[in-house]
């Protein structure tokens, strides 16, 4: 009888303990769910607005000057997490045929086998693989750049220019960055001996909107 009472006592004690632990844990779980939904609310998927964005590059010509060019057709998507920068992601796609350097002959040459080989590599793609905050409105972005059919890892620093909810345009996000690549690493070696520099500086300025606006 004594043993039975002891067992019942232990069982009751265990049950009370379990209920106490559960009682402490439940509000936390509920809080987590609430936090999760708040965070969801702070995550926006933006589309790049080509009318307010630019993809520009510059190269050294014959070692004496810089020539600037741009791409007129591009698109992309930015996922922006208002609370956790590591959740940001960026993907941008540029049509190689849309290269524009203010010279038809040169643009045709750039589209051809000597440079972009646009018939075989029609798009230039950047896709982020990781993001971390590196300062006030500055982010270190690791990603992959596919150019001329060759994909290479690349690190760039992106600046958040602004984020605002505008009366007629809705939520807008502005990002900008400048980085340099060696075109030879992407198999673009033509004229590298002096006519056109190996280093190409790329300047990106994206204005992105939510919901295709």
């Amino acid at each position: 009888m004594g043993k039975l009472m002891t067992r019942i006592g232990c069982a009751a004690l265990l049950s009370v303990s379990a209920l106490t632990v559960a009682g402490m844990a439940l509000p936390r779980a509920a809080a987590n769910v609430a936090a999760s939904s708040t965070r969801q609310a702070n995550v926006d998927t933006f589309k790049i607005d080509p009318a307010h964005s630019s993809v520009v590059f510059k190269v050294k010509h014959m070692g004496v000057s810089y020539v600037y060019g741009r791409f007129n057709e591009f698109s992309g998507e930015v996922v922006w997490d208002g609370e956790d920068p590591t959740k940001h992601s960026i993907k941008a796609e540029v049509k190689a045929t849309s290269v524009d350097t203010n010279s038809n002959g040169r643009d045709n040459h750039l589209r051809g086998p000597d440079f972009f080989d646009s018939a075989n590599s029609p798009t230039i793609v950047f896709e982020s693989t990781g993001v971390k905050e590196s300062g006030s409105d500055k982010y270190e972005v690791e990603g992959k750049l596919t150019l001329h059919g060759v994909t290479k890892p690349i690190n760039v620093t992106i600046e958040k220019v602004g984020l605002a909810d505008l009366p007629r345009m809705g939520k807008r996000l502005g990002l900008a960055c400048e980085f340099t690549v060696k075109r030879s690493e992407f198999g673009m070696t033509y004229g590298i001996d002096g006519a056109v520099s190996d280093e190409v500086t790329i300047l990106l300025a994206f204005e992105c909107g939510v919901g295709g606006r």
Binding site: N108, H109, P113, A119, N120
Partner: protein, 289 residues
């Protein structure tokens, strides 16, 4: 700029030419007059053109990326494949095996020289038709020229091809690409080396191997350029130009080497004129960029 030109002359002309001469001399042994020895030289043609081209290609264009990412990477691989097929063709083998290997190479060149952009925008049926049509054209040019080379030993075939590809090189330069022009120059120089040896050794033949590198590579250059150039007739003229050598076969009065070579070059010059006409028509008075 002078340094650039010197480098081009050395790597795009002198090196391929030298390599081709060395290979041909070792293979055909000009110092041996015994006709039975001539059999030993067949493998020299594909090695001369193949190695000459590959060295020039790497010097101008760096090593190709693997897997291939652009058209010129494929050109390098075609040269390797052509050299292997050429050496195989130098060995006596049944015609059906030789033609089967040839068809595989022609189809491979044809398929990979259809641009990715074209492939993504057309149905499987159209792609199959283009691939088969182009492959058949390459096969015909190769096989007909081979027949001619079997009958005509000496320099006429490699010399005609060398000059023809030199003209095509100007066409590539004006039409789409300095790189293709340089690579055509390398191929032309390699063939020039083979022609130089054939001039001093009349028993040297371009049949059984040499054309396995030269024709698929030449056609691949044309097809690659065609992805960007607009005039429709010029690539056909350029590809068919070597067949003009057959005209010299038919007419006894034109059998001299110079006549045969000129006949092959005329369609290429005509193709070049067409392109220049096209470019002049498009010209917008732009300055040199």
């Amino acid at each position: 700029m002078e340094e650039f030109i010197q480098k081009q002359l050395v790597w795009a002309v002198a090196m391929p030419l030298g390599i081709a001469i060395v290979c041909m001399v070792i293979a055909w042994r000009p110092w041996q007059r015994d006709k039975r020895e001539s059999v030993r030289g067949w493998w020299g043609g594909p090695l001369a053109i193949g190695l000459g081209y590959l060295v020039g290609h790497v010097a101008i264009n760096k090593w190709p990326s693997l897997p291939p990412s652009s058209g010129d990477d494929y050109l390098f691989l075609f040269a390797v494949a052509g050299t292997v097929v050429g050496v195989l063709e130098s060995i006596r083998m049944p015609v059906w095996i030789r033609w089967s290997i040839r068809l595989v190479l022609c189809t491979t060149v044809s398929w990979f020289m259809l641009s990715k952009g074209y492939k993504s925008g057309h149905t499987a049926g159209i792609l199959a038709a283009w691939t088969a049509g182009q492959a058949l054209a390459i096969f015909l040019v190769w096989t007909l020229l081979e027949r001619l080379a079997e009958r005509r030993t000496g320099p006429s075939v490699p010399l005609a091809l060398s000059l023809l590809i030199a003209v095509a090189s100007v066409y590539f330069l004006r039409g789409s690409s300095g790189k293709l022009a340089q690579l055509a120059g390398v191929l032309s120089a390699s063939l020039g080396g083979a022609a130089l040896v054939a001039m001093s050794v009349p028993r040297v033949s371009s049949a059984r191997g040499l054309l396995a590198v030269a024709i698929p590579l030449y056609c691949a250059l044309i097809l690659y350029s065609w992805q960007y150039d607009k005039p429709f007739g010029t690539p056909i003229l350029l590809a068919a130009a070597p067949l003009a050598l057959w005209i010299a076969e038919w007419r006894e009065s034109l059998t001299a080497v110079v006549g045969r070579v000129l006949l092959a070059v005329v369609p290429a010059l005509f193709a070049l004129t067409l392109l220049l006409w096209f470019l002049l028509d498009q010209a917008s008075g732009e300055s040199l960029y």
